[in-house]
Symmetry: C2
Subunit: 337 residues, 2 copies
DNA sequence: CTTCGTTAAGACAGCGCTACCTTACGAGGA
DNA sequence: TCCTCGTAAGGTAGCGCTGTCTTAACGAAG
């Protein structure tokens, strides 16, 4: 009955694996980490011993010894938005099997809250961080720089040096919507937006720029409130009172568009007869709502997948040629336009 | 230039806090953990020193020394379901400020996948686990028992000994829907369900039991496929072909009901004129869809909040009187019935 | 035959914290 | 007055792993 037994976890340790394999502890450690300076014969012995004992490395010990955790932080502006769920899930699916813990932080579209999360999560020394977009406080930026933590930005793109980003062009998506509505013969066009984050604003800019290029004025109704189905109905109603002649609306997301469709239905306003609707994100419901909603389908799942793989490459110290991964988007034309 | 400096993290350590406070390291440790055997004067000195240095405990070291992590695992059957997002967020909001990491596992409604997650997550020695319902593999059960990990079950209730649960009665909810439709004069009633997990089945049982008590037969259309808006439309269409006289449908969730509403609209079937719809969960959209959907509002946010607090109490070693927390539910009657 | 460089394996010493045991000290009873 | 006892503080020894340095082994070059 050894004294130290009282504190041990009872799980097999690296020392036991090493003993069983007949090598030193450090050799076992290297073998299990696939460090190439280990003789292949010894390495396979170690792996066998590890399997035989059902050895699982203790992440705390590993983290303490190496000063590096095995966790990756993902910060998203919302969980209530289906969009980010799919991205998160894809990230999980890539990183979990590689042994990384994925820590999710929701900053509720608040830069201050994001800063707080960054501060808190840096304390646990994550080995990488996946961020949404580029819009954050200076303090956040400094924290990230000072900690030299590996990071990948999602949803938006940049060509800046040493910055890795995976996403698509929000401006271009807005412009595509504008050109689509113009092609449909609509001339009295509006951008209706809520939850004015950087991406929503960029979409609107792309939309308005494309209209301007065609010599068409753009109406705009943008409120900072959180986006919701109910708000979509309200905003549509308000826009219609101000500009009864509007004949095409680009909503910054599908939720608003859904709400507007319901409101139009209640008011007996034909869609697309009197006014065409285009949403953004292409949520599952958009393919079924009456009328089916035209929307920009965004590659949110692929964004997560590629961002996670990029992070893995960074963590492996690989040489990255493509700092920017543009996954594009797709305009899905349906009944509403 | 001390040799050990090369491996240190550079962050202030407990030893430095102790030195600044003029106490031993272990006293500082106890003071910061609010262990009552520390003199209040010393304790406040330690807290001051800690603040002055910007000390943040190293979770890895703490975990290694105490063989206990500061992380709580939450296993949910889906992230695509808004329902669980709200629960997760509430859990986060309670546990994060207390210094716990919340690790999310999504088992995609698969008992096998849940078992795998339990196995993997137990390796990192979480200090607690929050589970959805009671339906799991025997191996999962054994793993949980063998590891003696503190756990709280969510969404369903049980009176079993030593089992903590937070939720509401799925059966009762189903029964309430049945009585509501009966009170509306409907007699040809059906339960339409997908993604047949234990809770969906219980809801249906409550529904059918209440109908049986009223001497009314229940129709049923249940498929194991994942639930979706599109499937709701399909199932409604199929049910209507088989039983054109159906005049009231209870859908196992709002998504199916939404899809059915769209399908009814396409087919020109008046709701609730010809057939009344009732959903489950009361998603935000249900208050806006045309017609507005009658639904059971479930306390998913409160489930998360209470489950997290219960876990905190368990972790603190508190004496728990109420093993079962019934948060109830609410029938929200709207236009569709 | 010696020297050197190179590579593989091991020894060692922590990483930062907490469990456990010991010591110091004052209060209270004999 | 002495001795026990309870309490608060400290000393010590790891928790399980990996970074760094050292050694051993071996072949090539001089």
């Amino acid at each position: 009955m050894r004294k130290e037994a009282s504190r041990a976890t009872g799980r097999p340790t690296l020392a036991e694996v090493a003993q069983l394999a007949g090598v030193s502890q450090i050799t076992a450690s290297r073998a299990l980490r696939d460090i190439p300076t280990v003789d292949p014969v010894l390495a396979s012995k170690v792996r066998e011993a590890s399997k035989a004992l059902g050895y699982v490395p203790n992440p705390a010990a590993r983290m303490l010894a190496s000063a590096r955790s095995q966790s990756v932080v993902v910060l998203v502006p919302a969980l209530s938005n289906q969009l980010f769920i799919e991205t998160l899930e894809a990230i999980h699916n890539v990183l979990r099997p590689r042994g990384y813990d994925v820590l999710i932080g929701n900053f509720h579209y608040s830069r201050e809250e994001e800063e707080e999360l960054i501060r808190n999560y840096l304390a646990i020394q994550p080995c990488g961080i996946l961020l949404t977009g580029f819009d954050r406080t200076d303090a956040s930026r400094r924290l990230l720089e000072a900690n030299k933590i590996r990071r990948v930005h999602m949803m938006e793109l940049t060509n800046a040096e040493d910055v890795f980003s995976v996403g698509f062009s929000q401006e271009d998506a807005g412009a595509v919507v504008a050109r689509h509505l113009l092609a449909r013969g609509r001339r009295r066009l509006a951008y209706v937006a809520a939850q004015l984050d950087a991406r929503v604003i960029r979409r609107g800019e792309g939309f308005k720029r494309a209209l301007a290029e065609a010599g068409v004025d753009a109406l705009e109704l943008a409120v900072p409130d959180p986006s919701s189905v109910g708000l979509g109905g309200e905003l549509f109603d308000r826009l219609l009172r101000q500009h009864p002649d509007v004949d095409g609306i680009f909503f910054c997301n599908d939720d608003l568009a859904h709400g507007a469709i319901f409101e139009a239905q209640r008011q007996g306003i034909p869609v697309p007869g009197r006014v065409a609707f285009v949403g953004f994100n292409d949520l599952p419901m958009s393919a079924h709502i009456v009328p089916r909603l035209t929307s920009i389908h965004t590659p949110r799942e692929d964004v997560g997948k590629h961002a996670a793989h990029l992070m893995l490459a960074l963590l492996a110290g690989a040489e990255i040629r493509e700092r920017t991964i543009d996954l594009g988007f797709e305009l899905v034309v349906r009944e509403s336009s």
